[in-house]
Assembly symmetry: C2
Homo-oligomer: 290 residues x 2
């Protein structure tokens, strides 16, 4: 099955054409997310047309559109359920109607961290493993969860993906979400950079202490969701050779898993994970597409 | 359907006969849990016989046995998966074989905090709500989770029930489970009493500070599992009139739930919750029982 895919980040729109677990072509556009999503829809359309042209495919070759979006999503209705400053107009847009009217295709949308998990599960580090947690540590801290082969979504689309918004440091920093001492507020790269900027005496030991909050979060997620494997992804994995052994050691010491040992691995697909996930999502949401 | 039910706590064995969502009769025996479970099995058998006699029922009137147990459980096989000092021999016992040979009945077993949730869901405060988190705060801190009408268990029986073992205070106390700063280590009554004993200057403000870690855990569980309702149970609910408003205020302020408001309520069934759950569990595990 061939689909159009996009991963709408706060700073970059990643746009691709995917077939049978392979990204056939992809491109990147600036997101201008402060201006909303509506002005970017023609950008997506044009980019897909260009990519399809390069591949000598037409719109008729596509079965659907898979979208990864940085918010809470109702995958069944295709609606965006919350807004966090990026693409603030998205809650009011009917993306399915746009895709049908403008592109003649069904559109499936899901939270971006959940999409990264789906991609790694179907085509990356989590292939063949049906109990997975993925932490995407970048500007924010996204989590996706798969339990016994079922994607964890919850009634309001919040289950799993808010993993970065659990208190790991009681009495800690206030987070954008309203909670206090969240892993995202304490240890995502956005906050690390913000802290580094306001602390001239910033040093490596402080950075290391904050990084360990991510390790604490990994243990919390293992205790919460009972996975066989934790996949780490996002910008922080540029330092995978430092972080992976540290997380593994922390998990081995502190996670309570009498059944055995949780594997901790790096994601394999990088930015492509959320694009590749679109194929699974279109099939899940529109089982009658070819 | 009539079943024999028991809730095997570290200090008390709660034993009952349940039919159609009602505890027909119940009794309590000392657990002597340090001596293991095997010596208590004849105690259970005798207590059920006595209760059935009082009810003018015979073993033939019973369809099965439902057991709540303070450990990780594989509900599908009926095996105990870990031991925590209480009933240390239980991992080596075949309880299903015992029930069949000694009592001629199928036996279903599940984690006690999960059983408390099931009881409140089927017959108590959570009736009609299919997205529930229950925190049972007593000697330990047990959690049970229901998502879209499905009990959250995980591949190794750990999902949800280890909710008390997530770090809420980074750099905090070491917990029995191996983790650090767990809610259970920081805020269960066992640790509160231990702390109170070693701190002569123990005062109400310290107690209050520790109690608020339970409120932080409530928010963490809402973020992790996306419930519509949080049910609080356990010994701590003797102070429900203090705790409920405090948890509600903390959740209203700190939980990120753009869909609406999570209800925070007290469990209605107390000790009976886990007994009543046995009926649902027997039906789930042995769907052909009458």
């Amino acid at each position: 099955m061939t689909i159009r895919a996009c991963d709408l980040g706060g700073t970059r729109l990643k746009i691709g054409v995917v077939r049978d677990g392979i990204v056939l072509a992809q491109t990147v556009e600036p997101a201008n997310s402060k201006q909303g999503l509506a002005p970017q829809l023609p950008v997506l359309k044009a980019a897909w047309l260009r990519l399809l042209g390069e591949l000598k495919l037409t719109w008729r070759d596509c079965a659907g559109i898979g979208v990864a979006f940085p918010s809470l999503i109702d995958a069944d209705t295709g609606r965006v359920l919350a807004q966090y400053g990026k693409f603030a107009d998205a809650m009011g847009l009917d993306l399915r109607a746009w895709a049908k009217d403008e592109l003649g295709l069904p559109l499936a949308i899901e939270n971006d961290a959940r999409m990264a998990l789906i991609g790694e599960w179907r085509a990356g580090a989590g292939r063949g493993v049906d109990d997975l947690v993925m932490m995407t540590i970048g500007t924010g801290l996204g989590v996706g969860v798969l339990i016994q082969g079922r994607l964890l979504r919850g009634k309001h689309g919040q289950a799993g993906v808010l993993g970065g918004h659990t208190t790991v440091r009681y009495g800690g920093r206030e987070c954008n979400c309203g909670n206090v001492g969240c892993a995202e507020a304490e240890a995502s790269t956005a906050f690390l950079c913000e802290l580094a900027a306001c602390l001239p005496e910033w040093d490596h030991s402080s950075l290391r202490r904050l990084a360990t909050l991510n390790y604490a979060l990994a243990v919390n997620l293992i205790h919460a969701y009972d996975p066989e494997m934790v996949i780490l992804g996002g910008g922080i994995m540029a330092s995978a050779e430092v972080i992976l052994p540290a997380v593994r050691a922390h998990v081995a010491r502190h996670a309570h898993t009498p059944w055995g040992k949780v594997r901790v691995v790096a994601g394999e697909l990088g930015d492509r994970a959320a694009l590749l996930a679109g194929e699974w999502l279109v099939q899940e949401q529109f089982p009658n597409t070819r």
